[in-house]
């Protein structure tokens, strides 16, 4: 008797997680299969919806006002504004008090460790006191031993970006003598010791110089550390999100998976899905194949959601011959000439950034003729093409909206 469920979701990121949760809420039995630990652990923890239009216009004040300007093939255009809003509602339910930003449609501007300002729809509470729309002067604090974050440089970048407040950056010695290339988990653990929190506040105090809020790299994983620092400094303290690995992303991943667990979703991680089986007519998928050291095992279901990510997430594969989707062999439109896939400028308009499945209205993958390939497969997240999520700053919103629709359609088809 093989493993069997109503719905199998492939992919453990935001879109897969939301799809699994929504499908489970329809009453379906659901299994989520994730090859590795959730990719959310590499994410900044910020939830963006739309920061820039495809032509670069922005930052956008209100993403919902800009949705009409997106091209027809954009995932938002396929699922519609209601899905984007409902996706955010689901997210708000998942994170509860952990996150802020739900009080308004307007984008918040969150300073990052690179000194840029990211337009984002939802952000962790620990980030809230750092918003760039707030006019209070800001001190950024970095550590000598932590080379990823250069506080004076980030402060200069923010000033150059035209933020409406004074910025300063200071590099202080970390209160505990850590090795030169210490892991961020090590910093976070060390800061949980009261003596270190006290020493850090003492080291920062003399640099305040009129600053009304103080930002630290996102290592204050316990709220008590942040509030203790704030109390000692007499100023609000906030975290500055950074690149991977990210403790904010890790906390979000943990919350999402706790929610999935509570909703009764079965989770298999650590194993890759490598292929599929179909019925006799090749119209319906009957199982996906999970690789176990060279043997494959079928995981059966009635409905499937493909949420394996885009080029970076390995949901889409390229080689010299073309662009493919490795699990269901879905059609991915691309030029025959691979030199057309990219632009010569690093931040130019690359067509590879929009590579992905062409979805039907119900998010089923379509073939080169626009026909639905498998009626019981739906795609969600960045495996869906049509959006350059990195330059638009729309990755999380696309994942939430398409995850919601794919998961709901899959669950309701049972």
């Amino acid at each position: 008797m093989p493993i069997s469920e109503d719905v199998v979701v492939i992919g453990g990121g935001l879109s897969g997680g939301v799809a699994a949760l929504v499908a489970a809420r329809t009453g379906a039995s659901v299994r989520l299969i994730s090859h590795k630990e959730s990719t959310l652990r590499h994410a900044s923890g910020l939830i963006d919806v739309l920061g820039y239009l495809p032509d670069g216009t922005g930052p956008i004040v209100n993403p919902f006002d800009a949705l009409d300007e997106l091209p027809n093939e954009h995932p938002y255009s396929v699922v519609g504004e209601t899905a984007v809003r409902e996706g955010l509602t689901i997210f708000d339910e998942i994170v509860g008090e952990m996150y802020a930003g739900g009080h308004t449609d307007t984008n918040a501007l969150v300073p990052t460790q690179g000194g840029t300002v990211k337009p984002t729809a939802r952000y962790p509470q620990s980030v809230a006191a750092g918003l760039a729309s707030d006019e209070r002067d800001m001190l950024l604090v970095g550590f000598e031993a932590l080379s990823d974050f250069d506080a004076p440089l980030a402060a200069e970048h923010l000033a150059a970006a035209g933020v409406p407040f004074e910025t300063q950056g200071v590099t202080v010695q970390f209160p505990e003598d850590l090795r030169d290339d210490a892991r961020i988990t090590r910093f976070a653990t060390a800061l949980e010791r009261d003596s270190n929190t006290r020493a850090l506040a003492d080291a920062v105090e003399s640099h305040l110089d009129g600053a009304e809020r103080v930002g630290f790299p996102a290592l204050l994983s316990k709220d008590t550390v942040r509030s203790e620092l704030g109390t000692r400094l007499g100023k609000p303290v906030f975290e500055i999100p950074g690149g991977p690995p990210s403790l904010l992303g890790l906390e979000l991943a943990e919350r999402l998976f706790e929610t999935l667990d509570e909703a009764g979703v079965h989770i298999s991680s650590g194993v890759p899905v490598v292929g599929h089986e179909t019925d006799g007519n090749d119209e319906r998928v009957t199982a996906v194949l999970v690789d176990r050291n060279g043997q494959t095992h079928p995981y059966h279901a009635e409905q499937f959601v493909l949420a394996t990510g885009g080029l970076v997430g390995k949901g889409i594969d390229t080689d010299r011959d073309g662009v493919t989707e490795p699990i269901f062999d879905c059609y991915i439109p691309h030029s025959e000439d691979r030199y057309d896939w990219f632009s010569n400028e690093a931040f130019g308009d690359h067509s590879f950034a929009r590579f992905g499945i062409v979805p039907s209205e119900g998010l089923q993958p379509t073939d080169a003729n626009g026909e639905i390939k498998f009626e019981n497969v739906r795609a969600a997240g960045s495996v869906v093409g049509g959006a350059d999520i990195a330059s638009e700053k729309s990755g999380s919103g696309v994942s939430l909206a398409t995850g919601l629709i794919a998961g709901r359609n899959a669950g309701e088809a049972i």
Binding site: I3, K36, R41, H42, D181, R183, T185, H266, S269, N293
Partner: protein
Amino acid sequence: MSDTEDTHEHEYEHEFDQSDSSPTGPTPVESAEAFDGLNADLRPGADNCYKCTSCDTSCPVAEVDDEFPGPKFQGPEQWRLKRKEDTDIDESIMSCSNCMRCDDACPSSVPLSQMHNTARGEYVEGMDKFSREYIRNRILANYGTLARIGSRVPRLTNAIMGNRVTKWFNERLLGITSEREFPEFAHQTFRKWWNDRGGSQVTSEQKRIAYFHGDYSNFNTPEVAKALVRVFESFGYEIAVPEQRCSGTPMFANGMLADARRAAKFNVETLSALVEDGYDIICSCTSCSMALRQEYPELFDFEGTGEVAAHTYEAVEYLRLHEDLEGELHDSDSEIDHPALAYHAPCHARNQGLHRQALELFRTLDGVDIEDVGDSCSGISGTYGWKSEKYDYSMEIGEEMFEEMKDAEGTTGMTECPTCAMQMEHGTGYEINHPLEVIEAALT
């Protein structure tokens, strides 16, 4: 296939002898060959690393031990350094506990644990063979050899190993922590029990499994092994209990690749013959199944290694794939009233996609109340937590799990890994069960 008395015991007793010239001993030629893993082309793995340091964030040792540079350094960075000039392997490789969490964390499929195993093997090759650390590690890595001798007189061995003088001696002379209680040897080994009952009670042409019990369930927890036998027999499986040696897990973790190679060679020869006869290989310990499935093919290339890997399963995984285990549990007439369970998923279960199966299976079962105690590493990682200089780190890593266990409803623990079980018991005083024991109670 029925089993006969151990005929290979004499070989085990030679395993510590450096000048061993028996066919399975470490002759100079063989010890050079033992590092065939080092010749594996690890370049694509190293090139795939884009330094995101997700592996470092998931490393339980790097979180508590500031001297440990983390898996990224131990794997791709050290490999690149060595390619450029003939640098020695950094001694910090010996602080890696081989929990293999980095493998699961890497978004780029860099074979981190394979790189660590090969680097550790190379480092140990250059170690002073008379140093306290080497001798201690070799003893820990070859637990099965000691167990084989000690279990002949289990009561005496238990008394000696529990003795304060023995512990003092271990701590001072060998660097084995005196904080832990040595696991007691069972008065009858599983293999003795198996032979006494006359081997398999079921014959079947179609449903055949070969049980790789490993040393621990043979010498220390035969009740787990017996549970496996009874459960599989209840599903109509013919069981073979082949001659076997340690899976190699503690040897990999201590860089004793020559020992691991000998053990693996023996196991692959025996098990691949059974695979050819239609047997699948079943483990009750997730580290054993990990070794056969992943580490053997990564480090060795004996004939049949790939076949053994492809046919190896963890026990509950196998039943869920091939039988309606969940249905049988629900339909069973046996009344279960099991104490509430605090379940810990071993790190090695994670990389096999198995860390949720006990929860999935028992959560919906009447009479069983199971609670997950979080995803932290237990901290013992086989032999790591037995080393005096690592004991405190081991307990610091385990702290989160201990706290979750104490917060859980019951005072009984559950895990698939024998050393995680030791740590769980050590940190909480709880009795620890294996999922197979609960399945046995429910089905038979």
